[in-house]
């Protein structure tokens, strides 16, 4: 049995290209007003994101070209770098604090978000390791426990920043990768329960999260404080209706909706492009999931299969959390919408992940 290199999955590429294109248009539309007033430059975020996109697509091509099997050897090294950068960001003087959380390392010319690197490396590492240990995965101590410890360290470091949203996304992705590797349903059930308790604790022990959670249960009651973002997001979506107010016509972007070009960009999209625009983007994500899992199922080996499934899961989990928050279906947590939200690190690592998916899609069985 030999592997043969074929063409990459062009549908996936096209979907990602469209999502990124929609993203940059919406970033400009959503940010122009605030950028103009705050920085006297309406094109500020457009320009920054354009540079990231170019860089991201170059890195995507690189990721597509190399032989993904070599990643198996890089797995451990990647994890070490990830852990080190996660520790570094927690150190005063290295991590730059924005809105009370130290999530980024200022590199001078740009800033770098270690958790985005860690997310990608976690998937690569787990895919690499799990694909070697299918036989042990049914055992809790020998199979699951080491991975749980590993995930615990990564998640623990990120929640210290604090960044519950990303922690949750990584935990969910890791959990699903364990599930996809064939872990027992009983183990998975218990893990899910424990996970929920931990999330509950994380909310309960941190007053601001508790307030957000209570506001999530009845946002209209807290419309002027903790429920503000959710309500303004719903206002934006509702204003959009079926056909939208027209590109550039958002009203809620006039300082009403915070994070309007990052975490809540989808609300502005819904306001300007209406439910039709929402259908388009949701449809593109649906196709993305389909192509991603299709690549996983068609992959020539277990590593490729798990890696593709893990990367797809990583992107989809983030997207679903973000859309859940924007639609008021989940408590507010700061997580960007992949491909669309403004943000360099997120976009670049997501595009690298797509590059890897395209990479895997090129290898097929040679029957």
């Amino acid at each position: 049995m030999k592997m043969r290199k074929g063409p990459p999955d062009l549908v996936l590429f096209l979907v990602v290209f469209l999502l990124v294109a929609i993203g940059i248009i919406m970033i400009f539309s959503a940010s122009a007003v605030t950028a103009n007033i705050k920085y006297q430059d309406p094109f500020l975020f457009l320009r920054k994101q354009a540079i990231w996109i170019v860089l991201g697509f170059i890195l995507m091509l690189v990721a597509m070209k190399l032989n993904y099997h070599r990643l198996r050897e890089l797995g451990v090294a990647a994890i070490i770098i990830s852990v080190l950068s996660l520790i570094a960001v927690l150190l005063p003087g290295i991590g730059s604090t924005v809105k009370g959380a130290a999530r980024q390392i200022d590199l001078g010319f740009t800033s770098f978000t270690p958790s985005e690197l860690a997310k990608l490396c976690t998937v690569i590492f787990m895919a690499s390791s799990l694909s070697r240990n299918f036989d042990k995965i049914k055992s809790f101590t020998k199979g699951l426990l080491p991975y749980l410890l590993f995930l615990g360290v990564i998640c623990g470091l990120i929640i210290l920043q604090p960044d519950l949203g990303t922690t949750f996304a990584i935990a969910v992705t890791g959990f699903l990768m364990l599930a996809m590797s064939g872990a027992r349903y009983s183990h998975l059930g218990i893990l899910a329960l424990v996970g929920m308790v931990l999330v509950g604790l994380a909310i309960y022990l941190e007053p601001y999260r508790m307030i957000r959670f209570i506001a999530f249960l009845d946002p209209w009651k807290y419309a002027n404080d903790a429920g503000f973002q959710t309500i303004q997001s719903l206002y934006a979506l509702g204003s959009g209706g079926l056909f939208g107010m027209g590109l550039g016509q958002s009203r809620q972007k006039f300082f009403y909706l915070p994070e309007q070009h990052t975490d809540f960009i989808f609300a502005i999209l819904g306001e300007e492009l209406g439910y039709l625009g929402v259908i388009l983007v949701l449809g593109l994500f649906l196709i993305f999931a389909w192509r991603g899992f299709r690549i996983a199922l068609k992959a020539p080996d277990s590593f490729g299969s798990l890696l593709a499934a893990g990367l797809t899961t990583m992107v989809m989990a983030q997207a679903l959390i973000n859309l859940g928050v924007v639609s008021g279906s989940l408590p507010v947590t700061g997580i960007p919408l992949p491909f669309i939200s403004f943000g360099g690190s997120s976009l670049i690592f997501t595009l690298i992940a797509v590059g890897l998916l395209l990479n895997i899609s090129r290898y097929v069985y040679d029957r």
Binding site: S131, A179, G238, G241, R251, Y256, L286, A289, S302
Partner: protein, 700 residues
């Protein structure tokens, strides 16, 4: 190389289906938000972005019946800040210091206001013109001026209880300004503009303009001159007898129009906060008191209408009467045998009690109610009191007896004057009112308030006969002090012991009142004067209130030009007047002053200022006499003495002239208005007869 794991493949496929399901759920969720609830949310979102800027309606002017302004609105500036802009400039402390200095506010308070977390804060409302002018010159970014109207009552305390007061937000809080708030205040409009979250306007913003409905100008029934007479006379009695309260009402009995109404204590509606709140109580309408003998007009009306008595019926007064075991004494004297007219003239309690007992409770109450007691008159003022009338079912003979002489029940002055008006108006009770006309924006009459006849209480014959009997009270009885030379006056005195807090009658406090009308054969004016607890002796209505009534009625009748009905045999006397002091006045002012006093000026010599006058000031001369004024500079005699030059700044020409003339100095005025410059400095010693030239400048 391992091939892919079968179980893993199954799980991956299942996970894909889970994602499909979740995305499907999101499709539904967004459909729900955007399509099903879209309109509702869009409307809420728009409301959330709209800011309202109120557009105040113009407040209507209150005029007296002759078109003289009693309440107007003047525009003033209110100062607001946009703290965001202040912070942008980054000089909060310096700005706060500057603002505090100009606005005379506490610096720290200003600082906290201008740095507050808001896009709009009132700094100070309704500041004086020069203050806002000063602020405008400072040109501070983020400071804004909003033109607001302020109610201004140009006549000060005149008719304060009637006109009312208005708050900072320019709405009526009392009096006519409150009662007719909707009519006078109009309806505020607003501009609604879509704003961003920081309060900036959004480009292509949604605008809505709701125009205000301007308030109507209204004409009141009040006559400023009569009102002034009433106020003046009340001031006099208050000064002389220091009562706890006092009031007077002048009403036109034919229409129910209130021509004058005033209460004491009073207040200045422009600065009402400087007065105790109790001063704002309108005694004439808001208070009930036991009226005493003035209430006997009701007993008399009822008895006459029921034909229980006629004017020449004989009564005997042994000085007291026994009712159900109680002994009620009449007064200090025993009236003995008297006609009914004399019973009224002497205000004989025994006579009235006999009449009351004769007619019975039912009949008495029928007339009491018909005259409007125990119910509001419906006068257009807020807070009218109902008075306290004993429940008919609880009334015993002794109560009927005391009621017949004016005790037991409490009435408001407006009720009493309205009841008397019915007698003066041939038995027809007119509803008292203050609103005469409503004008539209161009000053045209939009609505006229027609007089409302509430009830025919007694027949015209009874009323006319009672008028004659009441005229006897003034001619021969207790009301002699109310007689007005040249007019036939009818009336009734009242002296009521006040009821103390324990419900017993007080020994030393009385309410003195006089209720009357003139001319008796064709009443034009009805007037009630009530003086609550006058100090000193005598405290009788005929001594305290009747003279006040007399002054009010006599001046008002003359002012109205009511022809005299009494032709006196003696040759008509020309009234004498006091010659005003015109020395040192500019020639124009001096002549005007003499003319106002009813005198003719004869000018001698040349010049601008009057040096001398004959007869001299304060001399009493016949109206229409000639006063010679000298303009040429008469040589100064008696110039030995030295006097100190006074400080004249801020004084009117008249005041300056008076002061200088007292010192024996001459005035050379320049300009008009208030003095602001004098050529000889204050404090300097000059000889008597020197001339000081003073520059005057007009008021703003």
């Amino acid at each position: 190389m391992k091939t892919t794991n079968i179980e893993s493949r199954k799980r991956i496929a299942s996970l894909f289906l889970i994602f499909v399901a979740l995305i499907g759920a999101l499709f539904v969720r967004f459909f729900w938000i955007q399509v099903v609830r879209g309109d509702e949310l869009a409307k809420q979102a728009l409301d959330n972005r709209m800011r309202e800027i109120p557009v105040k309606a113009k407040r209507g002017i209150l005029y007296d019946r002759n078109g003289r302004e009693l309440a107007i609105s003047v525009s003033t500036d209110s100062i607001y800040v946009n703290p965001a802009e202040i912070k942008k400039a980054g000089e909060e402390e310096k700005t706060a210091r500057e603002l505090a200095a100009v606005l005379e506010m506490d610096e720290e308070k200003v600082l906290s206001l201008i740095t507050s977390n808001s896009s709009f804060v009132w700094l100070k409302r309704q500041v004086d013109f020069n203050v806002s002018q000063q602020l405008k010159e400072l040109k501070i970014d983020g400071i804004g001026f909003h033109e607001e109207s302020r109610r201004y009552y140009p006549k000060g305390t005149l008719a304060c209880h009637i006109l009312g007061i208005s708050g900072t937000d320019h709405t009526g809080l009392d009096g006519i300004d409150l009662y007719y708030e909707k009519l006078i205040g109009g309806q505020d409009g607003k501009i609604v503009i879509e704003h961003d979250a920081a309060g900036r306007q959004i480009p292509e913003a949604v605008h809505r303009y709701v125009s205000p409905t301007e308030g109507s100008d209204v004409v009141l029934t009040l006559d400023e001159t009569i009102q002034y007479i009433v106020e003046r006379e009340l001031d006099k009695i208050v000064e002389a007898r220091q009562p706890k309260a006092a009031c007077a009402i002048v009403m036109d009995p034919k229409t129910g129009e209130i021509l004058g109404m005033a209460s004491r204590p009073n207040f200045d509606p422009n600065n009402y906060n400087d007065f105790p709140a109790k001063n704002r109580r309108n005694f004439a309408v808001n208070n009930a008191y036991e009226p005493g003998s003035t209430m006997k007009i009701v007993t008399a009306s009822a008895a006459m209408e029921e034909q229980l008595v006629s004017s020449q019926d004989r009564f005997n007064c042994p000085g007291y009467i026994k009712v159900g075991g109680h002994r009620i004494s009449c007064s200090d004297t025993v009236h003995g045998h008297q006609t009914f007219s004399e019973v009224v003239e002497h205000s004989c309690n025994v006579g009235f009690i006999n009449l009351g007992l004769k007619m019975g409770i039912d009949t008495y109450y029928r007339y009491l109610t018909a005259f409007g007691f125990g119910a509001k008159t419906g006068i257009d003022l807020p807070g009218e009191a109902t008075g306290i009338v004993m429940k008919e079912s609880q009334v015993k003979q002794i109560n009927l007896a005391t009621m017949s002489m004016g005790q037991t029940n409490a009435v408001t002055p407006i009720q009493l004057v309205t009841a008397a008006s019915a007698i003066a108006n041939g038995g027809a009770l007119m509803k008292p009112h203050l609103l005469k006309k409503v004008l539209d924006g161009d000053g045209n009459v939009q609505k006229v308030v027609e007089p409302v006849k509430a009830q025919q209480v007694i027949s015209k014959e009874t009323a006319d006969e009672l008028c004659l009997i009441l005229e006897g009270v003034v001619l021969n009885g207790s009301g002699r002090n109310a007689a007005v030379e040249g007019y036939r006056v009818a009336g009734k005195t009242g002296t009521a012991q006040k009821v103390g807090e324990d419900g017993r009658y007080l020994k030393s406090e009385y309410v003195a009142s006089f209720l009357g009308f003139a001319p008796a054969d064709d009443p034009q004016l009805v007037c009630l004067v009530v003086v609550d607890a006058p100090k000193g002796y005598p405290y009788y209505g005929g001594w305290v209130a009747a003279p006040v009534f007399k002054e009010i009625i006599s001046d008002s009748l003359r002012y109205l030009g009511v022809p005299r009905t009494v032709m006196e045999e003696k040759e008509e006397k020309t009234p004498s007047v006091a010659v005003p002091d015109v020395i040192n006045l500019p020639i124009d002012e001096g002549i005007k002053s003499l003319q106002n006093a009813g005198l003719n000026a004869q000018v001698q010599g040349e010049g601008d200022v009057i040096w001398g006058q004959v007869p001299k000031a304060h001399a009493s001369v016949k109206r229409g006499s000639r006063v010679v004024v000298y303009l040429s500079a008469v040589s100064e005699q008696s110039g030995q003495g030295k006097v100190t030059v006074p400080d004249l700044e801020g004084k009117s020409i008249k005041e300056v002239a008076r002061i200088l003339s007292q010192l024996g100095l001459h005035l050379a005025p320049d300009g008009y208005g208030l003095a602001f410059e004098q050529d000889l400095a204050a404090g300097q010693q000059v000889s008597v007869g020197s001339t000081i030239s003073v520059k005057f400048q007009p008021l703003e």
